[in-house]
């Protein structure tokens, strides 16, 4: 165990850029100061963030090679959020997120080859190639998607928390013991579903933490252009009686420390929480975004706060990460992700029969994609059916 130095505040010039992106008045939560995190744990986070970064770089490459189709939103720059948040909760706590979901899947423990194969549209994918980049699901790791419609996952997050609490208290007759994590982007703040979900979470005392990954832009629209009170998002939560917190999402140790505190409190009180997680996506909204709505200078300020570099420097300054150890970590990750791509390339496309599976858990016969039950024999008249007499015979 080592005592870490508090994280370094951004330089004055950077502070101005922060104010421009997120608004002027908000204060970050005070740095956690003395926090005891074992070096091994931080190295694991460094590894996890590097894995997401490398994975996303290879995704972009695969997208350019047309191995990945549709929409693809990469997580580069925001890695500390998924890694720090999942570290702060327990594995049995359910998680749900939006469409920029590869990072959450990996942070939650999904084998990256299943994630990559999913995007390649292969049978080896986490959803057998039926979900795609925006819809990563992993039951074993309590990841409830990957949801493509902005804000749609926010009522689902309330439902996950509702079920956790109901199962513990009503079915098992013991105290509520789980919290749900629901991630959303700042663009989702203006969806009705979000406000309805917050009202329900506040009203029903649901143990759910809404983590707004506030990267300053909903697609190409700067947050203040689309969202009232952009400089103080926590006031939105306050309107629903929910405690709000602001966290520096570019520092994984801060994210972990603050989220741990919030999650512990949420678990103990069975009350919801709201987090304005200040972060930045280094790449465009999706693969087709030329980022003309922001300046190179702004990007450089945030790139200087790269959560990976930050943790790497911190560990190295504390003498906890030797250069060759770091290089070995990088190489192992590069090899692993390269293997993921090869594995996904080798995974066959889903067989045609998969088109008609997973539509119903209880179909009314072999499901072949229609509404009538005659499909169970393939003919209108099942075997042994007595043909009805013709009209002439009847008359």
């Amino acid at each position: 165990m080592t005592t870490l130095p508090p994280s370094v505040p951004p330089a004055p010039a950077a502070t101005e850029v922060h104010a421009k992106v997120f608004g002027a008045t908000e204060h970050l939560a005070p740095p956690p100061g003395k926090i005891e995190v074992p070096a091994e744990r931080m190295k694991q986070w460094l590894h996890d963030m590097l894995l997401i970064r490398e994975f996303e770089v290879r995704c972009m490459q695969a997208y350019q090679e047309k191995k990945i189709g549709g929409f693809c939103h990469v997580y580069i720059g925001q890695e500390a959020v998924a890694v720090g948040c999942t570290a702060a909760v327990e594995h049995r706590d359910p998680i749900v997120t939006a469409y920029r979901d590869h990072g959450h899947a990996l942070a939650r423990g999904m084998d990256p080859k299943y994630c990559m194969a999913e995007m390649f549209g292969r049978i080896g994918g986490c959803a057998k190639g039926k979900g795609g980049s925006m819809h990563m699901f992993d039951r074993d790791n309590n990841l409830f998607g990957g949801h493509g419609i902005v804000g749609a996952q926010t009522p689902l997050g309330a439902g996950l928390a509702f079920a956790c609490k109901y199962m513990d208290e009503v079915i098992d007759g013991k105290p509520s013991s789980r919290v749900a994590l629901c991630f959303l982007g700042d663009g989702a703040l203006n969806q009705g579903a979000f406000h309805e979900a917050l009202n329900l979470a506040g009203l029903f005392d649901l143990p759910v933490i809404y983590v707004v990954e506030n990267n300053g832009y909903s697609m190409g629209t700067a947050i203040a252009r689309g969202t009232t009170m952009a400089h103080s998002l926590v006031t939105k939560a306050a309107g629903y009686g929910i405690d709000g917190y602001v966290i520096d999402g570019m520092d994984v140790v801060d994210v972990y420390a603050e989220m741990k505190r919030i999650a512990d409190r949420c678990r103990a009180t069975s009350r919801p929480a709201f987090v304005d997680m200040r972060t930045y996506r280094f790449k465009g909204h999706s693969m087709s975004d030329p980022r003309k709505y922001r300046t190179k200078e702004e990007e450089e300020v945030f790139e200087a706060e790269d959560p990976i570099g930050k943790l790497q420097r911190r560990l190295q300054a504390a003498g906890q990460l030797a250069d060759d150890e770091f290089k070995a970590m990088q190489k192992a990750i590069r090899d692993r992700v390269r293997d993921c791509v090869a594995w996904s390339d080798a995974s066959p496309p889903p067989p045609p029969e998969e088109l008609f599976t997973d539509v119903y858990l209880e179909p009314w016969g072999p499901y072949t994609g229609s509404t009538q039950p005659e499909m169970n024999g393939g003919t209108v008249n099942p075997a042994g059916f007595k043909t009805i007499a013709t009209k002439e015979e009847l008359s």
């Binding site: 699901f137 039951r139 749609a152 689902l156 119903y360 009314w364 009847l394």
Partner: protein
Amino acid sequence: MTALREIEFRDALREAMSEEMRRDKRVMLMGEEVAQYNGAYKVSRGMLEEFGPRRIIDTPISESGFAGMAIGAAMMGLKPVVEFMSWSFSLVAADPILNNAPKMLYMSGGQFGCSVVFRGNDGAGGQLGSTHSWCVEGLYSNVPGIKIAIPSNPYDAKGLLKTSIRGSDPVFFLESERMLGNKGHVPEEEYLIPFGQAAVIREGTDCTLASWGRPVHFCMEAAEELQKQGISCEVIDLRTVRPLDVGTVVRSVRKTSACVVVDQSWSFGSPGSELASQVHRHCFDDLDNYVHRVHSADVPTPYATNLEQEYLPNARKIVEAVRSATYNL
């Protein structure tokens, strides 16, 4: 011999929910006014008293929120029953009920099912005007991944609702405000009715009348009238439109050679048009005439009593359609 037990449609619904809640703690009911108010239409009367506020939950008027919440809870393994005061109000919850519930299993490659029942009043309630008179089956039956039940009587309502709750797939259960007070025989003993099994509720030889939900009663009225006119109708209550028991209709049409489909939703892209298309396909050589259809008029639902009556399917329109289909004009 004791008289057959008769109860109201709303009582049958309540019995189905209560019985399933007694046998499975994962089942709970949520919706607007379902608890303290005893249900806007008294379907859930007394349930708060029996099951308590943790399982009978009043929600705010927030359909998108609580529909989505129920779906999230179902993904975790609960079995929520969600009451929409009217299916017309489900339109503001279109994203969760159409984009989440029916697609979760598929998008997750079979990892997450969604055992949730959405139920409530569907169709014209009686001068409620355009916004409150939706027949949502016209819209929703288009979507794979959901099952849709539209019972016409208390017996079917109870048996189908129990099947809905006990099953593992998302179900849209469409009731009618106009039928909640209808009485019918419902036995004391437990029974379930499988989905996709139509009921032949009147046998006949000249024309097949196929319908579901409230218009089934108009079909029976029409069949009575037509009998007097010497035309014998076979009336089939489909009971569910997803799955749709085309086979039973086809077998009947092979006997009668004529078919009229009666569907309260609008005609364009409706369960009625689907059934008619299926009958045309399977009975191409059996039909003496094209399949006739009786729907609500292709206009927004009017308010005035006379216009609303003229808008909806009714026995007179069905009689006319049958006479036309059987060349008795």
